[in-house]
Amino acid sequence: MAEQVYWDDVQEGIELPPVVKNPTTQQLVKYAGASGDYYQIHYDQGFAKNNGLDDVILHGALKNAFLGHLVTKWMGQAGDLKRLACQYRGMDIPGTPVTAKGVVTRKYQEQGANLVDCELWLENEKGDKTTPGSATVALPQR
């Protein structure tokens, strides 16, 4: 486990350590089973093509989970995730890596909580942000 991050030490503009993912068709099937989302565009190429797609695509919710991984890993066990949002702007296909990245955009205190807002995104190999998002976390104070 990474060391606990403290609110005191966080500054606006710092980056969250990136999380690299290498989704495969096998992972999409595992995710389908674990989440119960069996929509065929995520594992049946013929079905995906009949739906106007070039290939099977990552579940949006899996990309949401990758951003969740990024932020929960960073905030550590003493952190509390308050909000996690993302938009599925671009599609991602299995077999190509995606990287979850984030940057702290705001540090503030509200109702006794030490909060940090982050901008998050999932980036493909070309550097396109396919899945922009944001999060709010409460962090412990030293």
């Binding site: 089973g33 991984h69 890993k73 996690l84």
Partner: protein
């Protein structure tokens, strides 16, 4: 497939907004949490390792933030037939209030809070905002999830 130039009327919008699904209840099993964490390839001990999670401030396994997707809540039924079969997920906005723990009983209800149409690259689309409220066995809201679904 040909789609009409316009479909939704204001009257239909008002009929749809407020439509709710039937509640869906699941017991959050330890194995399901671990399987979900493995599927998203997140090795955080509080999602994967019961012993390590016992030593954490949670006192046991908790679910990763998007695990609640696996509750499999029904979508609210539209009060009219949609002329589309294709569906895309536009995004989600989660708010968290209480951690979801192994052993919790979660009840989820989804509700249509907005519906609009738009013409995009793939023709006419119906964009629906759905809010899912997840309550635990103590009737506390554990999380809400606002998602956008696109039919085209």
């Amino acid at each position: 497939m040909t789609t009409p130039a316009s479909f939704l009327t204001e009257e239909m919008r008002q009929q749809a907004i407020g439509e709710k699904s039937a509640p869906r209840t699941i017991d959050v099993e330890k194995g399901a949490i671990i399987k979900f964490a493995q599927a998203i390839e997140d090795d955080n001990p509080v999602f994967n390792d019961d012993m390590a999670a016992r030593d954490s401030r949670y006192g046991g396994l908790i679910a990763p933030p998007t695990f609640l997707r696996s509750v499999g809540v029904d979508r609210p039924t539209y009060p009219f037939d949609l002329p589309f079969t294709r569906l895309l997920d536009g995004g989600s906005d989660w708010e968290y209030f209480h951690p979801v723990r192994a052993g919790d009983r979660i009840t989820a209800i989804s509700e249509i809070t907005d519906i609009n149409e738009r013409t995009g690259r793939m023709g006419l689309m119906i964009i629906t905002t759905i809010v899912v409220t997840y309550r635990n066995q103590f009737d506390r809201v554990a999380a809400t999830q606002t998602s956008t679904s696109i039919r085209y």
